[in-house]
Symmetry: C2
Subunit: 306 residues, 2 copies
């Protein structure tokens, strides 16, 4: 099931390096592309890693620190130059509106496609987008400026088929198509096929949560409940715990503990401080607390949402 | 004399590619570094090409199209994070102030170092910075938004020594140090050493001009007078002449003709449209008009100011 995966475009913290660009990820769910943060250089990373960026219709900006949004004006401008007409919805702190307005006023860019900014200002978890395939919620994090995490939960359109029961009941395929949507079927002779008799519950929903930048705080685990794959910042190691606290960031140990407490299947760590040459120590530190699949992400790599 | 050279950090037009970043150059004159334009990704290009960016004290922004300034907020933020305290002077269209103010208000970045924006609004050539080593002027170009070119003229602190005359006159080295600054020396016996007798005029001053983005216009050659090395945009080829006209850009032929008319020693062309895979045709087209040193610039390369 590689229809739900995230491509990391940038995994540095504030300072980009030659190995790591500033924060950005593309989350792909079936044929939809969601952009999560858009640091400076994101449009070039998209070219490099062949992301079909005109297919992105929703952008989520966690907070208004430069390394999470300064690539957005250039990306929108490029989409425009390349002839985009389809609208874009941007979920972001409200001040982004004035930033984009001020820039586009100066550049004289007339965007042919409409974009709308949905301001994030919730103080608890709230649904920001839901349709029949996915439910996306946002929730507050604990950083120096208003910052938000996002949770993407897949929704199933169909139940699993109970193959044995369907075979035994010699169910007509046409009726089965209705049963798997969770509806009973009344036959011409007045008898009823109960969907529960011929289907099984859907597989466990996969849930991807994106959680950066934040200091640990009481209540975060509630927002992240049901998460199966967690992306969490790990800017520092424990020996820089004070620095993490002062700057409202997390350590690899914080990320590992939280992931273990949540019981997620997979933890992706990123947003590494430029002071670290590699992420080996981050992996070791998180591993002390978390015993499932664990990655320190790298730019350009895909990670399956488990 | 490699003490006057330009390093190209970005040479694409509006759309960055994997080969060409958006506009930016670092002009080095002796130990001073001037940044010319700062498109998205400039700070990473500086790392890649090992520019000591904390040594930049003056930044020149030609105009407020995204591909010429969107890297500036991130660069200033990075300079700040790395502990810069020395001030920066930015020469740019006035609207840049509001853009930077709006962004830094949202990010909460408190810049430790002062920066001042000198608003460009001249309608003719004007001196924007002059000291005993260099004179920098700015002048209007002809683009869709207010746009300015910049001219950097070296100034000589010392005249050339007339070796034969100095030897014949057996001039004391201490007196010679005064003579080469253009001052006469009165000796104890009342006689006077005339500096003109022992020195020669300085070599021809090198003058670098930066000219992007612009359509050709009457009067540009006056602003560029004395230029010895010209950087000029060549977004299009002649077969896209109408497109160039419509978007207020130049062709390689325009650049070549202007350079020939000015009698410059070296022409550097850049700001190539993403539609061209290489710059071979640009070189051929400009060569039809210009018979001195000619380059289509590449990111990361140094070009000596002749």
């Amino acid at each position: 099931m590689s229809d739900f995966k995230v491509t990391v475009l940038g995994s540095s913290s504030a300072l980009p390096t030659l190995q790591r660009s500033t924060s950005s990820q593309v989350l792909r769910y079936h044929n939809r592309y969601f952009l999560l943060d858009c640091g400076e250089g994101t449009q070039v990373q998209m070219r490099k890693y062949q992301i079909p960026f005109q297919r992105i219709n929703e952008i989520f900006i966690s907070h208004l620190h430069g390394d999470h949004f300064l690539g957005l004006p250039g990306l929108l401008s490029t989409m425009n130059l390349l002839g985009r007409t389809e609208g874009i919805t941007i979920f972001a702190p409200a001040a982004l509106v004035q930033i984009l307005t001020t820039i586009f006023k100066a550049t004289g860019d007339r965007l042919v496609f409409p974009f709308i900014v949905i301001p994030l200002e919730m103080d608890r978890e709230e649904i920001v987008l839901e349709d029949e395939t996915i439910r996306i919620t946002a929730f507050p994090l604990n950083h120096r400026v208003p910052t938000f995490g996002f949770k993407f939960k897949e929704k199933f359109r169909r139940l699993k088929v109970n193959v044995a029961a369907v075979k035994e009941g010699a169910i007509n395929p046409i009726h089965l198509q209705t049963l798997v949507t969770g509806r009973d079927v009344e036959l011409l002779d007045g008898s009823v096929l109960r969907y529960k008799d011929f289907t099984l519950p859907p597989p466990q929903a996969r849930v991807f949560s994106y959680c950066t930048d934040t200091a640990p705080f009481k209540g975060l685990e509630d927002y992240l409940r049901e998460t199966t794959t967690l992306y969490h910042e790990a800017t520092f190691l424990m020996n820089k715990k004070e620095r993490a606290k002062k700057t409202f960031h997390s350590t690899a140990a914080d990320a590992g503990k939280l992931a273990q407490e949540l019981g997620v299947k997979k933890l992706l760590m990123g947003h590494f401080s430029g002071r670290y040459n590699d992420s080996k120590a981050h992996l070791e530190e998180a591993r002390l607390h978390f015993n499932q699949e664990l990655f320190a992400v790298e730019d350009g790599l895909d990670y399956r949402v488990s």
